[in-house]
Amino acid sequence: MTTLTRQDLNFGQVVADILCEFLEVAIHLILYVREVYPSGIFQKRKKYNVPVQMSCHPELNQYIQDTLHCIKPLIEKNDAEKVVVVIMDKEHHPVERFVFEISQPPLLSISSDTLLSHVEQLLRAFILKISVCDAVLNSNPPGCSFTVLVHTRDAATRNMEKVQVIKDFPWIVADEQEVHMQEPRLIPLKTMTSDIVKMQLYVEERAQKT
């Protein structure tokens, strides 16, 4: 059994790598399941030992990668409280918000042998829940788009500014209408607790979508 702290070299980076890889798969899958983009741009791949749908549109893939590249330093320092995939209608009002609530323990007691396979199992359960979430959600209106929000602290944004990609991919403070939804219906999808991260995923759905 090895005891690691957040200060240990590369530990935060390992957690950020695992979470960002997961979030990339999750975002692609949400966009497919919620029909934000035509199904023709998605291809079946295998992640976490389950089939998932990933986009093959270069611009969209780059956008998702750039977004996560900017969020990664925040996750690394345990400064990303929530990562939210927001689906918006034509008028740019949110209709659905997929909220990933993330928290990391400051002190860890982990066995490196079992760690990765255990985390993979837990993340697989999230992917499976996302792939069937359309059964519990109402259809979205046509012409929806999406954005990704990150809930952090003002001081932590300096970590973000260190990332090279931010120069071509700047971030701004979200408007109230992008952050909050009036009387949303709350649908819990999945919770996980592991040695390295606690995460819960729920969907906030607008009562009247059309």
């Binding site: 934000v36 998702i64 750039d66 012409g143 788009s145 990150v150 602290r153 003002d154 944004t157 701004i172």
Partner: protein
């Protein structure tokens, strides 16, 4: 001291951020998809011609 306190509390303030850029629109992606399908069918036609 007060100014320092104000500064630390404001820097610890919670914020919600989003990218300035928008992802490609559905319409733009649809145009790309249509063009890709046309290109693929053209390539397929060429390969069939070469075989003949």
């Amino acid at each position: 001291q007060k100014a320092e306190g104000d500064l630390s509390s404001s820097s610890d303030k919670k914020v919600v951020l989003l990218p300035c850029k928008n992802p490609p629109s559905r319409k733009r992606v649809q145009v790309w998809l249509k063009a890709r399908k046309q290109y693929e069918s053209l390539q397929k036609g060429r390969r069939e011609c070469e075989v003949l």
